[in-house]
Amino acid sequence: MGFLGPEEWQAVALSLKVSLWATLASLPLGILVAHALARWRFPGRQVLNGLVHLPLILPPVVTGYLLLIAFGRRGPFGAFLEETFGIVLAFRWTGAALAAAIMAFPLMVRAIRLSIEAVDPKLEQAAATLGASRPWVFLTVTLPLILPGILAGAILAFAKAMGEFGATITFVSNIPGQTQTVPSAIYAFLQVPGGEGAAMRLVMVSIALALGALLLSEWISTRVARRIAGR
């Protein structure tokens, strides 16, 4: 507790929560979109592809601004979600998670997509001849084979979510305990004289967490690969 103050620890906890949720909640959609882009041919495929990549191309502030306009309380989606489901994203940690998820989405999708493309379609064909319908082929053959890719995509997304700043602060502001993630806290420290020390301490915590996740994922996927190689 001496290393960081209570408000900073709060930011760390919130960042972890936001990044975890952003990753986990977007994973199913990420897998679906990656699969669609890798294996299906449908009109609008390239439009979907472009859409997925937008957050990467745009300056984060713009993404945050667009989110604010769309999902703010007064925005069309924000109002709709609040009225119909009672879900409020604006200025809540859920909004931070949404921003992080959207910013990380292109990375997640690309990683998963590449790993799907690496799966030999001949194996999927073999599964089909054995009676597996498309969804079953996916669940029993493709999915297990791309687990390392999914893991890689998820961790990449998690890491990006941990570092996301521009879109988050623009969309959900920087409210301690609600939307103040580690990067926003770092930003706030850097805006005033003498805040660098505290900022660097936060940077170190954030590096430790994200690198820890990264190493864990490497370790797991090495093990999975080794198991498949029969060693």
Binding site: Q125, A127, A128, T129, I228, G230
Partner: protein, 367 residues
């Protein structure tokens, strides 16, 4: 007709136009490398969608361009043994084996798995993953996987090519039983006439994407005209017979229409029907009944057709009882012996020359 296939497709540089009907049993697709065998099988499996055609199994239409019908592979209920294995690398051998059963929804008979595992000799391997298997081991697992999926049609693309003789000899009887005891039609691709003769009910010979010969196995195989398509070394005829008894010295006596045949230990009860493939090159012809020879099988026969090619060999078709026998002899011998249609002579065949794999069972009386 159990199997009705018509497929037309044009690749750049290769066009396929194959159409045939086949009765129940094993339909062998025979032809040289690149003739189009795998392509036909893939079209039947639904893995490849040809420009035009129709595929039906036991009247069940899986594909028909005229009617705009196209069943996806997983709705076709096929067991496909691929030329290159295609095992699931992330599953153990056991999981690979039971993969198709899972979808077949049929009875989950543990004994069935055990039986097939034992037959294929893969008990030791059940907990390994495919990466740790040898080439032949992989192929055996692939066969087991297809068999265990309770298919309505079995597609086998050179399934035994990677296996050694001993293993082939162990697996062939099982395929025979499949053919005889179930209604599952089998479409079987092979380069080996031995396998074809032993298993096939119907033979379809392909050449450059066209059917050049088709018909019941016994007919196609004993047809001197078919020899070029099958390859001279592989010519031979098939005799039907019935097991009479097993002698204590290890020989089995078989009644054939022209007399009695001796074969080493046939694995069937007395009374069982068998088919015996006699390779044309294993038949010696003699004007008189020879004496003092180590060959036990000597059948009287009448020459029905003589086909001389450009080479040193002559293909002679003989009628022995109700059966046709094909003999390949040198032109010189044919001239010396004066072989001509109508002439009677004796066919000499060594018992041991008829490999066990050349003796097949009909209607599952196997022991």
């Amino acid at each position: 007709m159990s199997l009705s296939i018509a497929i037309r497709h044009a690749f750049a540089g290769f066009s396929l136009d194959v159409s045939f009907q086949a009765p129940p049993g094993v339909t062998a697709l025979f032809g040289r490398s690149g003739a189009g065998k795998t392509t036909v099988v893939n079209a039947v499996a639904g893995l490849f969608r040809p420009d035009a055609g129709r595929v039906a199994v036991n009247g069940w239409e899986m594909f028909d361009t005229a009617a705009g019908r196209w069943l996806p592979p997983h709705r076709r209920h096929l067991g496909y043994v691929f030329q290159e294995g295609r095992l699931f690398p992330h599953l153990t051998v056991r999981q690979n084996l039971t993969y198709g059963r899972w979808f077949a929804g049929g009875p989950r008979d543990a004994a069935e798995v055990a039986r097939i595992v034992a037959m294929l000799g893969i008990d030791r391997l059940l907990d390994r993953r495919p990466a740790a298997l040898s080439g032949g081991e992989k192929q055996r697992v692939a066969i087991g996987r297809a068999l265990l999926s309770h298919p309505r049609l079995l597609l086998m693309d050179e399934p035994l090519a990677a296996l050694d003789e001993a293993r082939k000899a162990e697996i062939l009887p099982y395929l025979e039983r499949l053919r005889d005891q179930t209604d599952i039609p089998i479409l079987y691709v092979s380069h080996s006439v031995t396998e074809v003769a032993r298993l096939a009910t119907t033979v379809i010979a392909l050449e450059s994407g066209r059917v050049v010969k088709q018909g019941p196995a016994a007919e196609v195989l004993a047809d001197p005209q078919a020899v070029p398509a099958l390859g001279v070394r592989e010519a031979g005829s098939v005799l039907a017979g019935r097991v009479l008894r097993h002698d204590p010295d290890g020989l089995s006596e078989i009644a054939v229409s022209a007399g009695r045949f001796f074969l080493p230990q046939v694995a069937a009860e007395p009374g069982a029907q068998v088919r015996i493939r006699i390779e044309a090159q294993d038949v010696i012809l003699s004007r008189g009944r020879p004496e003092g020879l180590s060959a036990l099988n000597i059948l009287p026969a009448t020459v029905s057709e003589v086909r001389r090619g450009t080479g040193p060999g002559v293909m002679v078709q003989l009628r022995a009882g109700d059966d046709l026998i094909l003999a390949r002899i040198t032109r010189r011998s044919a001239d010396l012996l004066g072989i001509a249609p109508g002439m009677t002579c004796f066919c000499i065949v060594k018992s041991v020359a008829i490999a066990r794999r050349n003796v097949g069972l009909i209607r599952g009386d196997a022991v």
